[in-house]
């Protein structure tokens, strides 16, 4: 087991290095840098010291040096937790991302919990009542859930809720509490706004999970050891929950690992539509304005989370499933 973890760790570090290089290349793909945009801005303002300012900035970010030098400078900071500065906001990337991380994690984890709590019972029900009326209904709705773009759900829910409740929707707070310090009333207000993003973000995940759980459980229920358990005279509940469901959960561990980057990115598209103060819209703006340190840090950070998530899932699987060989 230790050797297995060690081997996986080595390959993980190797992948991370490659990921950071590729991420840096992707972010540097667009012709020109943010400085070109900035220079144009300064020109419009008619600043006479524009060239000097630009040169100073170029020097500071080593933009006058070759690309590999920039990469080494950036990645060596990355390891120390210094991600560079955002051009657009003129602030530390770390600070910007950190400010939004709290809400992002709350929304993501809430929607993750939501989708798992809903999906697992439905998946189990669907598999144990295959082709029954209820199963058909759930199957139909999970197909719909897989087919509706999440931003469309967000839009429709916002329209419906503002028609029905007449309240302003979007964001995580009402205007009155936007800048207010935390209080009980603000917390209640927060919860009132939380449900829309949680449902919207959770929904597409729920549909996929239901399909997966149903399929896995159906496969397992055909296994001989389930038949044996029934033949032994065990009650149906024990057969299903102790023997079948436990084993059907294994593939889901993998998908839990893959949802790790989603926790820090939130759902980008939905967050933009709902104007949530999460990291997704920040990343998106950074991409559009070629704010390369912000965008690059975020892209690589998410990839690293995915690699770590897969690593954790592998280990978790090896722990829960004794059939997995470490070779």
């Amino acid at each position: 087991m230790t050797a297995f973890i060690g081997r996986r760790l080595v390959s993980m570090v190797f992948t991370m290095v490659l990921v950071s290089i590729v991420g840096f290349i992707i972010i540097n793909l667009p012709p020109g840098t943010y400085l070109d945009v900035y220079r144009a801005q300064l020109m419009v303002q008619g600043t006479s010291t524009a060239d000097q300012q630009i040169q100073a900035l170029e020097k500071r970010y080593a933009l006058d040096k070759p690309v590999y030098y920039q990469y080494v400078k950036w990645i060596s900071g990355f390891v120390r937790g210094d991600f560079g500065r955002s051009f657009q906001y003129n602030r530390e990337v770390k600070e910007l991302v950190w400010n939004r991380m709290g809400f992002t994690v709350v929304v993501s984890i809430a929607s993750l919990l939501f989708s798992w709590l809903i999906a697992l019972p439905i998946g189990i029900y669907s598999a144990t009542h295959k082709y029954s009326f209820g199963d058909n209904i759930f199957t139909f709705f999970s197909f719909i859930g897989l087919s509706v773009p999440s931003f469309l759900v967000a839009l429709v829910l916002m329209v419906v809720s503002s028609r029905v409740f007449g309240a302003s929707v979007g964001g995580l707070f009402s205007r009155a509490y936007q800048d207010a310090p935390w209080s009980w009333a603000k917390f209640v207000d927060f919860l009132q706004h939380l449900w829309i993003p949680v449902i919207v973000v959770g929904m597409s995940g729920t549909a996929g999970l239901v399909r997966m759980m149903r399929g896995n459980l159906l496969d397992i229920l055909n296994m001989q050891y389930v038949q044996t358990a029934r033949a032994k005279g065990l009650s149906e509940n024990i057969v299903i929950y102790k023997h079948a469901v436990r084993n059907a959960l294994h593939p889901l561990v993998m998908s839990l690992g893959m949802s790790l980057p989603g926790i820090i990115s939130g759902s980008t598209v939905v967050s933009i539509v709902l104007s949530l103060p999460t990291t997704g819209p920040l990343y998106f703006n950074a991409l559009r304005s070629q704010d390369m340190f912000l965008a690059g840090t975020f892209l690589v950070f998410m990839a690293v989370m995915l690699v770590v998530g897969n690593f954790l899932a592998d280990i978790a699987l090896a722990v829960v499933d004794p059939r997995i060989r470490y070779e």
Binding site: I26, F151, L287, L299, V307
Partner: protein, 382 residues
């Protein structure tokens, strides 16, 4: 030597076995087709897809009422006009008609308001001449499936902020949205099966390199990666170039999954007796791959391809919705939905959400179709 090969290759005469039921004489393809037809949802999905491709990809100009880019200052945000069969006196008309639309400036809000004028009726004509468009992008023609005589207007889905007919735009947008998925899937199949086969068949260093690339591509979460690549497209590129680039970007991450699966299949087939036999008979690698392995993996590849099209359509829609995908004046469903970005706009003009309905319908149909093909192609399913 050649004699021996000839002998082995000629099929040995099988003794006549009386076929007592039709089923025994069906080929594998016919069996798959039968199983597929039994799945009603899959068949329905297939029919919808077929209709979508004929109407939107092949003949969007003909089925649309107007040219999708014609702007009308007097019809900004006009609501949908539904065809009527019964007039206000309750009289039934065999030929449907639409009421006239009066446009006035509301001096309080300085917005155009549209009032249905029931005194004017415009009959709907079929196979009629209207605005000019290009058939297949080549021939100029002006024949539309249906339309009304000017000054009457027929906006089935209403109009957008520039007074363009939304129905015609939805059809035109479908052409792009549905093709992006198709082009992306073709690229996915080519990349995935070629690299997957090489990886599985030859193994060794090539296998190692390809698998590391696959792992690397899989290490990036999809939407952020697509967004980053799409943002890197130079804005001065022509719309056609951007369109193709978007398809490439979408398939760039998608082929990895297919490559893995094809590799696993090829690895398994390589050990099969028929592959070993072919090798022993001196068949070239190319022959073994093309004649013995790929046809075996074909059903698998087709299933994965069908199931990955909806994901691509959704991705294109999301990217274009955010302004990172297809760029106007080219329209796609995502571009059309950009108009519905603000809730306040949608509240007053709910018809702007209609393109979303088509996205859902297309994706749903592809999901049903793919599921049906998967179940039908699996010889062990009941």
């Amino acid at each position: 030597m050649t004699d021996i090969t000839m002998q082995i290759e000629t099929p040995t005469e099988t003794p006549e076995i009386p076929v007592d039921q039709e089923r025994g004489s069906l080929t594998q393809g016919q069996l798959i087709w039968r199983r597929f037809l039994k799945n009603r949802l899959a068949v329905a999905g297939g029919i919808v897809i077929l209709l979508f491709y004929v109407i939107m990809v092949v003949f969007p100009g003909f089925f649309g009422t107007y040219n999708y880019n014609t702007q009308r200052e007097d019809a900004i945000y006009a609501p949908p006009q539904l065809p009527q069969w019964r007039d206000e006196e309750g009289k039934f008309h065999l030929r449907p008609f639409v009421y006239g639309l009066e446009t006035e400036l509301d001096f309080a809000s300085f917005e155009w308001v549209h009032i249905v004028d029931k005194s004017k009726k415009y009959p709907v004509y079929f196979i009629t001449r209207g605005e000019e468009y290009r058939l297949f992008g080549l021939f100029r023609t002006n024949i539309h499936l249906f339309g009304v005589e000017p000054p009457g207007t027929f906006f089935l889905f209403g109009t957008d902020d520039l007074g363009r007919d939304l129905f015609s735009r939805v059809l035109q947008g479908g052409q792009i949205s549905l093709t992006v998925g198709l082009v992306g899937v073709i690229l996915t199949i080519i990349l995935g099966s070629v690299l997957g086969t090489i990886s599985g068949y030859y193994g060794g260093v090539m296998d190692n390199i390809i698998q590391r690339i696959v792992e690397l591509m899989m290490s990036f979460p999809d939407i952020p990666l697509w967004a980053a690549l799409a943002a890197a497209l130079p804005p001065e590129w022509s719309p056609a170039k951007t369109f193709f680039a978007i398809s490439v970007i979408l398939s760039l991450r998608n082929w990895t999954g297919l490559a893995r699966q094809v590799r696993a299949k090829v690895l398994a087939y390589r050990e099969e007796d028929y592959a070993v036999a072919a090798q022993a008979m001196g068949a070239s690698d190319r022959r073994i791959i093309l004649i013995h392995m790929l046809p075996n993996a074909a059903s698998h590849i087709i299933v994965i391809a069908t199931l990955s099209i909806p994901g691509m359509i959704l991705a294109e829609t999301s990217l274009s919705f955010l302004g990172l995908g297809i760029q106007p004046p080219i329209v796609s469903w995502g571009v059309l939905l950009q108009q519905a970005q603000q809730v306040s706009v949608v509240l007053e003009r709910p018809w702007l959400l209609l393109p979303g309905f088509f996205v859902v319908l297309a994706v749903l149909s592809f999901n049903f179709l793919g599921d049906g093909i998967r179940d039908a192609a699996d010889p062990y399913s009941n």
